[in-house]
């Protein structure tokens, strides 16, 4: 909860703690029971506001989560009595009232139904009928508990714009009857891929750190990892869920080292390794083992394995590039893309010599769609330079430089071009 928090006030701490730990769970269940996103969200918000006064007056309850659940349900009943615009209003009211009289039964709510509600919430927020930015915003808002203002700042969007996006998404869920459920088995792989994409997008938005408030962006990384951890608890049998978490942990472990003391982007090779978070790397590696033990390879696991090899090697010279090239090959078979092909060519160039890399680069260089793809020309230049073709390398560097907008990358490419002439 933001605003008005007294640092050493136990009630504020308890409310903030309940908000952090219980809000998503309470909300997920209430959305199912009330059948309406907006109504449930408002009722949960009301309950947290009421908690501040009530807990100060009556003391902090033994089970804050249960208190919030009951309070939110009663607020939802009050709101439903007043708001006639909710579909199936009478049935909803009857159901909520019955639940309210059956407190005993409710507290028996087993762990699995709570897990199901949070999964329902994730799959609904990441429904493909919602546009991607709305999926991301809704996920951060409902599961992450971020405010609209925080999400707007993280994505460099004006707050009213972000507010409209979220309101519109919630209205579409209601008007178009986007179901609140975990997809059936036959749809599940596809839909889960969509969920993982949203989580990874949140992470990358925070990790890119090229623009925007760095503090907020760090929170996005943390939030994505929290969501990733939640998914591993909810779907522990899915290898890619573990793969994505591992990939995020391994990247995040190097967050502090990605920018050098002058504020410039530092490539893996140039990073100060003493800044790496060793515990996080260990977590990432254990998570990757867990993923691999499920024996269902996938994109995120392969990317995590590649990152793990790069991190574990003492430096670029002593990296197992042959194994990395192999992993990129597997990635290309699963999901062919020029970016993966390019990375594979670079790895092969480092494993088997620049000539082998250049051969793999050949078809990419002939692809008109990649003519303006800067990383391709930068990699081409690097391989040519290593192969000893200085003048061809200079041409490729110039080409890459012409396509670079980022000042830091530009300086690095110019430095390499200069080194070429000095040889």
């Amino acid at each position: 909860m933001s605003g008005g928090v007294h640092p050493a006030d136990p009630v504020s701490d308890a409310v903030a703690g309940a908000f952090r730990d219980e809000r998503a769970t309470v909300l997920a269940t209430l959305i199912r029971q009330a059948g309406d996103f907006q109504l449930a969200e408002d009722a949960v918000q009301d309950a947290f506001e009421a908690a501040v006064t009530a807990w100060r007056r009556d003391g902090i309850p033994a089970n804050p989560g249960a208190w919030i659940t009951t309070a939110a349900r009663r607020r939802a009943i009050d709101r439903l009595r007043r708001d006639r615009s909710v579909a199936d209003r009478a049935e909803r009211l009857a159901e909520l009232t019955r639940l309210d009289q059956d407190e005993e039964e409710l507290s028996m709510d087993d762990e699995s139904s709570i897990v199901d509600d949070r999964l329902r919430l994730i799959f609904t927020c990441c429904h493909p009928a919602l546009e991607m930015p709305a999926q991301v915003a809704l996920t951060l808002r409902t599961l992450g508990g971020l405010t609209t203002g925080e999400i707007a700042r993280a994505f460099l969007v004006a707050e009213p714009t972000m507010g409209k996006r979220i309101v519109r998404a919630k209205r579409k869920i209601a008007d178009a009857h986007i179901p609140y459920r975990v997809p059936a088995d036959e749809e599940l792989p596809d839909r889960l891929r969509g969920v993982l994409r949203v989580v990874y997008l949140v992470f990358n938005e925070g990790y890119a750190a090229t623009k925007g408030d760095r503090l907020v962006r760090g929170e996005l990384c943390d939030e994505a990892i929290r969501l990733g951890e939640l998914l591993t608890r909810l779907m522990p049998d899915d290898a890619e869920v573990w793969g994505l978490l591992s990939l995020m942990l391994l990247h995040d472990a190097r967050r502090a080292a990605r920018v050098d003391p002058e504020g410039r982007y530092a490539a893996l090779d140039a990073q100060d390794r003493s800044l790496w978070d060793r515990d996080r790397i260990a977590d990432g590696l254990t998570t990757l083992e867990r993923a691999v033990s499920l024996r269902r390879p996938g994109e995120y696991q392969l990317q995590a394995a590649i990152t793990a090899l790069q991190i574990q090697a003492p430096d670029a010279e002593n990296t197992d590039w042959a194994e990395i090239a192999e992993l990129y090959g597997a990635l290309a078979r699963l999901n062919p893309s020029p970016v993966v092909e390019l990375n594979r060519a670079v790895a092969v160039g480092l494993a088997d010599g620049p000539a082998a890399g250049l051969t793999l680069l050949e078809p990419l260089l002939g692809d008109p769609a990649l003519e303006r793809y800067q990383p391709l020309h930068a990699a081409h230049a690097e391989l040519l330079s290593r192969a000893g073709y200085a003048s061809a390398a200079a041409g490729a560097y110039e080409r890459a430089i012409a396509l670079t907008a980022n000042a830091v990358e530009l300086a690095e490419l110019e430095r390499r071009l200069g080194a070429l002439h000095a040889d």
Binding site: P128, E131, K172, P179
Partner: protein
């Protein structure tokens, strides 16, 4: 006798202007009643705004689902289906089965139930009696 479809187009406007339009609803109800009495009315329904629309295309055997209405291109309206589905997922699944989804677009729009139409108009100040609901569908 022949059947004709009357497609109603309008600009989507801000809530204040939309409220003004809602207050004109008694004129619609009157029209529907007179069409029904003349034996001309086969069906009339109001659609939710395009904000709740989803477009479905099938390309290379893969179903593509996008948020939003069908974008203005050279494609024109060729036909319609009204399905009774449990939820949007089912509607999208059936939309992907329409053969034209392979070369065109199937826009899926929820229909506003008659009682909701009545409520929305009344909330904006339209003077409509309860029984008007039977002339709103």
């Amino acid at each position: 006798m022949a059947h004709y479809m009357l497609l109603v187009y309008q600009e989507e406007v801000d809530p204040a202007e939309q409220a003004e339009r809602e207050r004109e609803m008694p004129m619609f109800v009157e029209l529907h009643r007179s069409l029904r009495e003349a034996g001309l009315l086969v069906g009339v329904q109001r659609l939710h705004s395009t904000e709740s629309a989803t477009s479905v295309r099938v390309r290379g055997g893969e179903t593509e689902i996008t948020d939003g209405p069908f974008a203005v291109t050279k494609e024109v309206l060729a036909g319609y289906y009204i399905l009774d589905c449990a939820d949007l997922d089912e509607a999208l699944k059936q939309a992907a089965r329409v053969p034209a989804a392979c070369w065109g677009t199937v826009e899926v729009r929820p229909i506003m139930p008659a009682d909701e139409w009545l409520r929305v108009s009344r909330e904006a100040g339209a003077d409509l009696p309860d029984e008007a609901v039977k002339d709103m569908a």
